[in-house]
Symmetry: C2
Subunit: 290 residues, 2 copies
Amino acid sequence: MAILDGKLISNIIKNEIAEEVQLIKLKNGKTPCLAAILVGNDGASETYVASKVKSCEEVGFQSELIRMPSDTTEAELLFEITKLNNDPKIDGFIVQLPLPKHINEQNIIQSISIEKDVDGFHPTNMGKLVQGLPSFIPATPFGIIQLLERYKIETEGKNCVVLGRSNIVGTPMAILMSRKGYPGNCTVTICHSKSKNLETHLLQADIIIAALGIPEFLKGNMVKAGAVVIDVGITRVKDEQSKKGFVLKGDVKFDEVAPKCSFISPVPGGVGLMTVTSLLMNTLKAAKNK
Amino acid sequence: MAILDGKLISNIIKNEIAEEVQLIKLKNGKTPCLAAILVGNDGASETYVASKVKSCEEVGFQSELIRMPSDTTEAELLFEITKLNNDPKIDGFIVQLPLPKHINEQNIIQSISIEKDVDGFHPTNMGKLVQGLPSFIPATPFGIIQLLERYKIETEGKNCVVLGRSNIVGTPMAILMSRKGYPGNCTVTICHSKSKNLETHLLQADIIIAALGIPEFLKGNMVKAGAVVIDVGITRVKDEQSKKGFVLKGDVKFDEVAPKCSFISPVPGGVGLMTVTSLLMNTLKAAKNK
């Protein structure tokens, strides 16, 4: 059993990005720039955005954090987005989700310029992904693809089960794993809360991508020997023993599943770290597209 | 075994549309209008477009056929599209594919206004479909959904195998069958030319949607008793006995498969007829959206 080490691969990719940034600076005198809009002060969102800003610094990007109060109106947020869409200094930007309930998230997502939509949540980018056209792949699926690629995991003709059908992970992941090319060419089965006989599907799987958001859902008896298991889940579970009062749990019961796997991504230290790195990759791509 | 009768369901839906058209005319004095652009004079394309125009007449739509010579430039075609995008009389329009090779199909598809893209091929409409947002569903998948719905085929928790991963049938079909709602909530497996152990997957399937384009690919021994089989294939196979010199063959070896099925769609008389009807449904929707 080998670990798909998200920290290791993230660092390798970040180093590659940092080198490219140096070259771009030398050549064009420009520095890629990612902006993030944070509305309100949700604890988890603060943490995510802070980690994104920190990662930008690590690779030599410029970053811009735009904080807006929680009573920001949709019109005010749209105005801010228009400014970023038109600002030539900004290569890509994200609006940290979730937004306060009085703001329509879809209106916001669809107002972001497709060329700067480095989260890849705009329907046009999602549609291009489906159609195999150049697009920004949402960060989590893109991170998983990178992990598979860097560890040279064979995918062609393999049975891949995707657990979960969310818009930002399960569904795009199923499309990516089934499409032509590498990683891809898998026979993909999409399972979800309405699936029956889950075990039957899982025990046929060479690759399992668990993105249900149910802590320790995938047990040892659901996985065949030699499988590759990618754990996308990351749930805070109460733990009074821990300083923070919680521990992070993946969708995979690691101690049971890991011994059966050829490769497995841990939580933490797996897909989560790759997600931020993918955002940097998308931003670099946006900068180069210009 | 019962037939999923595309002709019957098409006629029912067309009658419903015709009634709605009468109401819209009475209420707003307007008639829904579909335009089609046909570049060059490919035989099959002529047939398809003629059938679309005829169907428009049947339900009381206005239709407009714009013929352009095969040496039309991309710029000339884009100019024509801009006119249709801006013409308030036109509710929806299609550009018949394939286009002559000197024209970039993607440029053309992406130039069509999303609100008039009744073929549902624009990436934005595809992305909205993936994200469960209101959109125009491409005609063939939409037609299959209608067939399943009108025959009240149970789908929740069923195993559905989609054979084929094309942008316009296989992939959107897999997304539709796996999404929440009815028809949907299936455990969907996407199989394709790189899949191994196809039989294993097929023999577990409660619903098979065959969209490979390989005549009579699906044999009797690949289908479990009681399965629902949808045949999307429609290939011209040489036949000297036939007046036209060819016969139309589906992806399913009908005589072997049909006796094992609970429901099966024939070729011809199944999905093909539903496709044109779906285009009418999309056009009516476009007219009502305005």
